[in-house]
Amino acid sequence: MDDHLDKLHGFVDTITSMKETIITNIVLIGQIPAPTFKEKKRIGVFMERLAEFQVDECTTDGYRNPIGIIKGTSEKKPPIFVVAHLDTIFSKDIDHYYTIKENSITGAGIMDNSVGVGVLLSLPEILRKLNLRFESDIVLAGVIQSLGKGNLRGIRHLLKTWATPIRGAVCIEATELGRLSYYTDGMIRCEVECNISSDNGWEHKFKPNAILILNEVINQILKLRLPQRPRSRVIIGKTSGGFKHGVIAYNATLGFEIQSNSDKMVKSIFNNIKDVVEGIGHEHEVDLKLKTLSNIHAARLNFAHPLVKSTVAVMKKLDLVPISEPSESELSIFLARKIPAVTLGITRGENYHQKNATVEIEPISKGIAQIIGVLMAIDSGGCDEEQLA
């Protein structure tokens, strides 16, 4: 392990010398709009670039997740996965063209997750340049349908249909460098829709207001008593509705997530909110629907798990301070399948999820060296014996 760690700073220098290729990959893939469920064009370019970089195999699985495989030296060792989600929250009408300055890249989706995908595409060339061979196959997967209503379908399908055991995985997110996610909260993502008939019949003489109805839902949610143990919360994240300032809103939508490190608690809170929604719908005589958009189960590695310990060692060697937080990304699906995995960030940035999201260029090399360090740790066998609880 120490041998690997000692090489990391040298890796940073080599990776920095490949800056143009890495940024080119980030830009060429990131400038193609890929809203969730409409990733086809980005998949095409992803495959094209992977093929150009001469991975040993380049294909899509049955769900159209594009995959590149760098063959390992051992036929017996299970593969190691590196994944980044391809989809973004931005529609194709948004300007996706990036601006590059001396130390920054700016544009829609750059932080979620163009940098991650661009780095994934660059790994074959980087590993070649670093003259690194692994015992395991390295599977580079750009997974689709991750965000929002996508509900991590791409990664779920990929892992469900993957025929052989998987040795470990690294999930790549653009930001923040220093992030070390090795556990995931249980989560249910919901939407409450309120629709009020716009008919002019007598029964609608005193028409209710959809926004005020949802306001009542929010108030009732806020009144719920949430425990500190298990750690639990409800995040009210999104609202929309109405037509114009002087007209009663006929429809409105509220989006929220229930998060807890206990699946049981998530379910319990969900049932409470379901009762709230049904009660308000009944009392106000409105069409109020609670829909589940996605859900994930709580799962974790222990801090003492060799993969976590190795990752911390890699990060410290690179002078990074590991900050741990739960992740609701692809990580959750790996952990749910008892595959050791971590999520790591590549660089620093600002204006996350905005059209002018900006990432720094300079830290990217360190972010990539970190990923390679973790891949080497997994490949060295340090994480093989440990089973997830």
Partner: protein, 323 residues
């Protein structure tokens, strides 16, 4: 017009995406290739252009030998950014400094011929938001693979399905459709086959560029086409579909000035060839009007239409390139 030039000399960039083959041809013919980027306040787009070209066509495939930026005196960070990303950056005014100084795209292109080392020169505008290395290799393909082709012009948006019943507009801009195409139709019908004569992306061999004059301003694209057509004929020219090009839109007033410069260049060429004559000299001011406090105020913009001679006539050039 009896010409099958459009069918013979029109390509799509994807016909040239085997970059190894292009590199082999370049090496077999022992050629040097320069990418020249004329700039004026392009800090938002210049880095991306240099970076992608360098990564794809220098590091990964050694197709380009150098990237040269010729700047017209940008007041933003264009020059610093271009240098930081590894281009060779020059201020136009500092090249051949003993000559009278002019400012304009054509001036930068002309001076690039003195600075760049290449046997083939690729000129690309630097305001392209969706820049991709196809913009360069697409133009280089015909020059490297077909010996008779000496100058290649870009066009965009897959405009015409030749041989099929489905026809779409050619995708030319307003100045192309309202100025250039009518002029070409009137005077040089063969040249109407060049679908987007004003596109700012083209490549050619040095032996051609060095023997033609360069207007310093907007007229340079028209002038290059007219001169090459006049001296070497249409068959040395090819055009390549580079798919989509996303760039800043210019307002109608700016396009008016562009149209003025193009007409000026066109008429001068016709005069020089003895094809038309005027009893008086042309005026050199474009006059537009603004409504200011209920009064129409003229906005006069001088477009003198200076022109650089063929650079082979410049002694320093002849000495440097042993001509």
């Amino acid at each position: 017009m009896k010409s099958n030039w459009l069918e013979k000399n029109t390509f799509h960039y994807s016909e040239f995406n085997n970059l190894n083959r292009l590199v082999e041809e370049k090496q077999r013919k022992n050629l040097k290739i320069s990418l020249c980027l004329p700039t004026l306040n392009e800090e938002k787009t210049i880095a991306k252009e240099i970076l992608i070209m360098k990564s794809e066509l220098m590091t990964r495939y050694p197709l380009l030998d150098e990237i040269v930026v010729i700047d017209s005196g940008s007041t933003d960070k264009t020059r610093d950014i271009a240098s930081a990303f590894g281009a060779d950056v020059y201020e136009a005014a500092e090249i051949l400094p003993h000559l009278e100084t002019f400012k304009g795209k054509g001036e930068n292109l002309w001076k690039a011929l003195y600075i760049a080392q290449g046997d083939i020169i690729v000129y690309l505008d630097t305001d392209i938001k969706n820049i991709h290395h196809r913009f360069a290799y697409g133009l280089l393909g015909p020059l490297l693979l077909f010996d008779h082709i000496k100058y290649v012009k870009a066009f965009y948006d897959r405009p015409i399905s030749i041989g099929k019943s489905k026809i779409r507009p050619t995708g030319g801009g307003r100045v192309t459709e309202l100025v250039i195409r009518p002029l070409f139709s009137l005077f040089f019908p063969e040249l109407t086959q060049i679908l987007q004569p004003l596109s700012g992306e083209y490549a050619g061999v040095r032996e051609l560029f060095e023997k033609i004059p360069f207007p310093i301003g907007y007229g340079v694209e028209t002038s290059i086409i007219l001169d090459i057509y006049e001296k070497w004929g249409l068959d040395v020219i090819a055009q390549v579909d580079l798919d989509k090009r996303i760039h800043r839109n210019q307002d109608t007033r700016a396009l008016g000035k562009m149209a003025f410069a193009i007409l000026q260049t066109f008429i001068r060429r016709k005069r020089k060839l003895g094809l038309v004559d005027f009893k008086e000299d042309l005026f050199d001011e474009m006059i537009q009007y603004n409504l200011v406090k209920n009064q129409y105020m003229p906005d006069i913009y001088k477009i003198e239409g200076h022109e650089r001679p063929p650079i082979i006539e410049v002694p320093e050039y002849r000495e440097k390139f042993k001509r």
